[in-house]
């Protein structure tokens, strides 16, 4: 019996190693991946499809945003397919969870890159993950269009890297000058930021904005992504006597707000990064009152431009979409616009070339990529009042 088991084990291991060799062979990217034609229903009617891979943090600290990516990209694909597809192609999606971990994200990107059916990748959520994948985009010749990466150094890392989110080199200084300085009228503040590529870069730009606006920095503290207890950082910043706290983060913002209010520190909180998140209202309750958030869009059910998206998103995800989800929808729109403009065969390379020239008005406003693969977006100022978000300043504020 033992011999039989041993023989079975050896056979299994041999098969696994053979399969591994096979995988290695297929790891060499095809010289040119093209859009697929396949028989979907077995009736012999060929259906031309273009498949996009989505990388999103479906679990972990940023799960709210990752699940928003998943839902929003699905809605975009359903909308486009319902309207007849693009250039005769139907769109398909595959979504995988990176948990906002750079290594996992790169593994998923490589898997997508080695799959000839995948014509472009939408994701990831964090700039750190997107930057980790940037060399792979070049190596495999596969576009990565991030809905949310706002680290200014990301999109310029490769000609295959794009982002439809604003850039922190403009947003962070604007937040310092226009939100903290002008809108709130503060002359000093303290800052907490996430110790990641995104957080460090955003903090640097924010501090330069404080400097040029003449706002005094009383404290500047970082923390790691898996932090759960912020009491020591809060005590440190509270001891500076600051009456304004700026949080540069996304997923940890509700926890920080609760711990700030729980510590008895009655300060004005501003947060750059989370957008108009329902999770903040749910998790913080009254603690979120007065919170100020600069964000590029505020999506509501009664806004005629976005109400359809809002309803579909709510049906899928049981929460209101943030700007991050809108950007995920917009990433699919950008790829669709690029494919529309391609004459001839749709390939990974032709999508990359076409993306550079897209210019359209979509749900997230006008989208046109600059030379670095990024976009410019204006910001709103919203504030929590009576348990909901209120737009305090519209686009074009200073």
């Amino acid at each position: 019996m033992r011999k039989k088991i041993a023989a079975l084990l050896i056979m299994s291991l041999s098969l696994m190693s053979l399969a591994g060799c096979g995988a290695e062979d297929s790891a060499v990217p095809a010289p040119e991946s093209t859009a697929q034609t396949k028989t979907a229903d077995g009736s012999g009617n060929a259906e031309k499809t273009i498949k996009f891979g989505v990388i999103a943090p479906l679990t972990g600290t940023h799960a709210e945003y990752g699940q928003g990516f998943d839902a929003a990209t699905q809605i975009a694909v359903e909308d486009i397919n319902a309207a007849g597809g693009v250039n005769g192609y139907k769109l398909e999606l595959e979504c995988q969870d990176s948990a906002a971990d750079a290594k996992t994200s790169s593994d998923i990107f490589t898997r997508y890159a080695e799959d000839d059916e995948i014509m472009a990748v939408i994701g990831d959520f964090t700039s750190s993950c997107c930057k980790a994948n940037a060399p792979l985009t070049e190596e495999y010749g596969l576009v990565q269009i991030s809905p949310t990466a706002s680290d200014p150094s990301y999109a310029s890392m490769s000609e295959y890297c794009f982002s439809v989110m604003y850039n922190q080199s403009t947003a962070a200084p604007w937040t310092a000058e226009s939100v903290v300085g002008h809108f709130l009228g503060k002359s000093e503040c303290a800052v907490m930021y996430l110790n990641t590529d995104w957080g460090i870069t955003t903090n640097d730009y924010f501090l330069s904005g404080l400097d040029s606006a003449g706002i005094k920095l009383l404290g500047d503290e970082s923390y790691t992504e898996n932090e759960t207890d912020f009491s020591s950082v809060i005590s440190k910043l509270k001891a500076t006597g600051a009456d304004t706290l700026v949080i540069l983060d996304q997923g940890n913002v509700p926890t920080i707000i609760n711990q700030v209010k729980g510590s008895g520190w009655d300060c004005q909180i501003v947060s750059l990064g989370p957008g108009a998140s329902d999770q903040i209202l749910d998790l913080c309750g009254d603690n979120a009152e007065g919170l100020v958030i600069p964000c590029p869009s505020y999506i509501t059910a009664d806004n005629p431009d976005t109400s359809d998206f809002y309803k579909k998103f709510y049906d899928k995800n049981q929460c209101a979409p943030t700007d991050h989800s809108l950007c995920a929808y917009n990433a699919v729109q950008a790829l669709t616009e690029a494919i529309k403009s391609i004459d001839g065969e749709v390939t990974r390379e032709s999508i990359k070339d076409a993306l550079k020239d897209v210019s359209y008005d979509g749900l997230a406003g006008h989208t046109q990529f600059n030379d670095d693969g990024g976009v410019s977006r204006d910001l709103l100022i919203i504030q929590v009042e009576n348990g909901g978000y209120v737009v305090k300043e519209k686009y074009g504020y200073r």
């Binding site: 479906l58 679990t59 972990g60 600290t61 799960a63 709210e64 990752g66 699940q67 110790n195 503290e221 970082s222 923390y223 790691t224 898996n226 932090e227 759960t228 207890d229 912020f230 009491s231 020591s232 950082v233 005590s235 440190k236 001891a239 509700p254 926890t255 609760n258 711990q259 209010k261 729980g262 510590s263 008895g264 999770q279 749910d282 998790l283 913080c284 309750g285």
Partner: protein, 292 residues
Amino acid sequence: MDGYLISQIVNGLCLGLIYALIALGVAVIIGIVGFATFTQGEIVMIGAYSSYYVFLWSGNNLIYGMIASFMITWIIGMILYKVCYAKFFDSPEYISLICTIGFSMLLKNLAQIIFGAEKKPMLNIIENKIYHLGIIELSRVQLMVFITVIVMVIILSLLFTRTSWGLKLKAVSQNREAAALVGINVDKTAMIGNCIGCAIAGAAGTLIGIYYQSAYATMGATLSMKAFTSATLGGLTSVPLAALGGILIGVTENIGIAFSSASFRDIFSFGFLIIMLIFKPTGFGRKRGARA
């Protein structure tokens, strides 16, 4: 000593008490079952989710929440014992250790599938009242955690030293064969010991959920490692010394952060552990594995 440093020490004490709460369960399990466990963080998470749903149903009734988390994690403890320990008493220790790591991953992923990946709010379970003792500020939840740790340490110490049931648990932890020879049902006793450790972690989960005002699938990941570190400092099996280890790690972390950055938190805690073990390999205990 200025007010700022005192407030950081108080923060460290409160965080240390959270570590201590989980470390108590770790020490009980290692002491009685005889195997290390890396599932305590996930048991904490299950405890927090159990009370979250009971709070929704009962209108934030703390007693119901505590009972639910205690009972559900007791049942999880029974399953954990059967899966990770029962079959491996005669196998190398690392087998059950790896098994507990696998079990923790399974619980975490199942929780994400069943409860969703988003955080669940646990707001206003206890009124956020702040007490001022001179320059020291303490919230009501922090006081509750403090009292719970003290009460747990006393109850567990009395249980292990003053009751016949505790003596059975102690006998099993010291020599399984000898305990069996005097008529103790070793398997059942070890399983009860494991369930006690898990149920303590479950109750801790309720308090941690209330303290951080949320429950989510990954909430136990870091806490589990810190709890194990605390138990290691306490000599692995001693309940009061594991609590002391937790408190010292919390205070060390926060004093370190007071003079540097929160980004270095783990450097202080694990650095403290390494230095401590270099000079005193048994931790605070006289002998590693001995029950204090």
